[in-house]
């Protein structure tokens, strides 16, 4: 046993796969210490906030100390960040309509663009074919630029007096005022932004990975247990036992498993479908190929001399199956289990995408996250953070498990040993 394990860990592929899987598990354990929020808590008002560090604007302007930094390019950066590409194109359009050649305008050079704008723009002029709304838009852009340039001193902070209802000055934020981020009371890092409900995607992803792994594990264990038991009985006893078991196995082989899974899930009903229920359903529909392959393995084993010797030594049937057959297919069964876990995770994702996964109110799963992202059109809106990390996680888990399997295959299959 110890020897076998040492051999397994000498296989590079297995070690890589195992390390990936263990890292995923480590993250599952460690992450909740760092962010203890419940995964389905709604943080954001609005959908799909992009990934980033969110600093409370209120706390930043009211930080205990504001530092004065005179940075040379601060003003330019400010204007650049306010002036979107859309605005720049609109400005170019105006200038071209005003008679400037298009080649003379460099959109990337903010200073030059602003100089040209200053020179040519007249707020009250209506170019031929321009709608009133478009005119108002140009006025807004221009007013925005003016206020950015004229706010030399900064902006006044004001609060409404509860008694008089008048605005009263409470402070002043100058353009050169800076808050140290470590002194800002509320900063929230959302490494993967928020989803359509305004929930932290990363926290959700970590919880979902755990639940999906659990579903895969339970489904894999059930499928392997059923498949192994039936395969051993059919293969070893043979005769009418084999006939009956193979009758049901063939029946299940002919019915597409996924269709069966959909029908069962659907008939259970959304309210009854917990994560474990789904796992059990997946387990009970995916034992077929384990049965078939275990049976054929046992078939080739049952007439081996060591089994005959065990019979001649007066061992009972259960004992022969457990002691003389099972150890010889154990490596195969472990490999089948790993594959079953991996395909259980994929089956859950498939079911959930169709809206037949676990109920949505308790725990997230990888499939449910994909489902939500799909329903709220994250892929159309370009909100990659809502689905891409989920896809990568599924791929990573599947990949690591298949890699472990290939490694095990190399150790146990003499024909593949190098």
């Amino acid at each position: 046993m110890g020897h076998t394990i040492r051999q397994i860990f000498r296989s590079g592929k297995f070690v890589v796969g195992f390390t990936i899987l263990m890292s995923v598990l480590l993250v599952l354990v460690v992450y909740p210490w760092w962010v203890p929020d419940p995964p389905l808590q709604i943080l954001g008002q609005g959908t799909f906030f992009p990934p980033g560090i969110y600093v409370s604007a209120y706390d930043a302007s009211n930080a205990p100390v504001l530092y004065t930094l005179n940075l040379r390019d601060a003003a330019d950066k400010r204007i650049e960040s306010r002036l979107s590409q859309e605005d720049r194109l609109a400005m170019q359009e105006w200038l071209v309509a005003d008679g400037l050649p298009e080649s003379a305008i460099d959109l990337a050079d903010t200073d030059a663009l602003l100089a040209l704008w200053e020179e040519h723009y007249e707020p009250d002029r209506r170019l031929p074919g321009m709608t009133f709304a478009r005119m108002r838009y140009y006025q807004r852009v221009d007013a925005g630029l003016d206020s950015l340039r004229s706010a030399g001193g900064g902006e006044i902070l004001a609060a409404r007096n509860p008694e008089t209802g008048e605005l009263e000055e409470t402070g002043m934020v100058k353009l050169t005022d800076y808050a140290n981020i470590s002194q800002v009371a509320n900063v929230r890092i959302l490494p993967l932004g928020t989803d359509n409900f305004g929930r932290d995607v990363l926290t959700q992803l970590v919880a979902a990975t755990g639940v999906s792994l659990l579903i895969g594990f339970v489904a894999g264990l059930i499928a392997t247990a059923i498949g192994l038991t039936l395969g051993l009985l059919a293969g070893y006893i043979g005769g009418w036992v084999d006939d009956i078991i193979m009758f049901f196995t063939n029946l299940f082989t002919v019915i597409p498993t996924f269709v069966l899974l959909i029908l069962i899930s659907f008939s259970i009903g959304q309210d009854q479908r917990g994560a474990i229920t789904i796992a059990v359903v997946i387990g009970f529909t995916s034992w077929v190929w384990t049965t078939r392959s275990v049976r054929s393995q046992v078939f080739s084993l049952r007439n081996r001399d060591h089994v005959n010797l065990s019979k001649l030594s007066g061992h009972s049937l259960p004992r022969i199956i457990v002691a003389d057959i099972l150890p010889y297919i154990a490596s195969y069964v472990v490999m089948a289990l790993i594959l079953q876990i991996s395909s259980g995770i994929l089956a859950e994702a498939g079911l959930s995408i169709l809206g037949l996964g676990p109920r949505t109110t308790e725990v997230p799963t990888l499939g449910l996250m994909m489902n939500w992202a799909m329903i709220y059109q994250a892929h159309v809106l370009g909100n990659w953070w809502a689905y891409l990390p989920v896809l990568l996680t599924i791929a990573l888990i599947s990949f690591s498990m298949n890699l472990m399997n290939t490694g095990l295959d190399q150790v146990f299959n003499p024909a593949l040993r190098d």
Partner: protein, 273 residues
């Protein structure tokens, strides 16, 4: 020939058919035989002639398609697991390939302890069990102290086959089926194995059914010889009568195939098939 002795194992019309339809293969085809107590019987034939299939039917490891096997004059009944276990107390086997005959997950101790348990020694004190195992290993010139806690695959082929004989020594069955016990062993160990087998047979007086493709070996060990060709017994009788006065061309061919070291090879008789 020991015709006055009691019948130990006999068969009438014993047949084994594998597969169905076009794939049908008759491995053993209506064979009759009478094996007497204390005899050494050789069943000789080429590869694929059905020797091993017959041996497995005698052992009750596979069922026969047709015909009856009689054990000690009674129709053999091994339909239930309990009856089979009772039958296997009387008949044991040594297999051809020692390398595949042991469960590689079990230590050698387990193999020998199984035999003690089968002889009803399950509740013997540990010291007595060890004593029995030492005696059995000593019989085939193995050292128990060196074998204990070892796995079968750590032994050589010859040692494994000797251990198999030690197993029979512990079990003391009435009948032993030895299915080509020396064919996978190197020539030097071969004689040793045969010697231990004969010594064991002499001590216990058991019936020995010796299955081989080597008619020379059969002549060397046996009282009675059965010649098997394509699932049928074509000739049988005392070793002397069959080998010195063969009636069948098949038997003559088997005899001529035995290499004679002291004579130069006559290449004209060698058939390159």
């Amino acid at each position: 020939m020991a015709t006055d002795k009691k019948l130990c194992l006999s068969g009438r019309g014993v047949t084994k058919v594998f597969g169905i339809g076009r794939q049908k293969l008759t491995a053993v085809d209506h064979v009759d035989f009478d094996f007497h107590e204390g005899e050494i019987i050789s069943i000789v034939g080429e590869s694929g002639s059905g020797k091993t299939t017959l041996a497995k039917m005698l052992l009750g490891l596979i069922s026969s398609s047709e015909g009856e096997i009689y054990f000690q004059g009674q129709k053999r009944d091994i339909r239930s697991g309990r009856k089979r276990q009772e039958y296997w107390k009387n008949i044991q086997a040594i297999f051809q390939d020692p390398f595949s005959a042991y469960n590689t997950f079990h230590k050698i101790d387990t193999v020998l302890l199984d035999c003690i348990r089968m002889r009803g020694g399950k509740h013997l004190p540990q010291a007595r069990k060890v004593e029995l195992m030492e005696e059995a290993c000593g019989f085939v010139n193995l050292k128990y102290a060196e074998l204990t806690h070892k796995y079968p695959f750590e032994l050589s082929g010859g040692q494994m086959q000797r251990l198999m004989i030690a197993r029979i020594f512990l079990l003391k069955p009435k009948i032993l089926v030895a299915d080509e016990p020396t064919s996978m062993i190197d020539a030097c160990s071969r004689a040793t194995i045969l010697d231990y087998l004969m010594k064991l047979r002499d001590e216990t007086g058991m019936t020995l059914i010796f299955i081989t493709h080597d008619i020379g070996l059969a002549y060397y060990v046996s009282d009675t010889v059965y010649i098997m060709e394509r699932g049928r017994f074509v000739e049988h009788g005392s070793a002397d009568s069959v080998i010195l006065r063969p009636r069948e061309p098949y038997t003559r061919r088997l005899i001529s195939d035995v290499p004679k070291i002291h004579e130069p090879w006559d290449l004209s008789t060698v058939v390159f098939a």
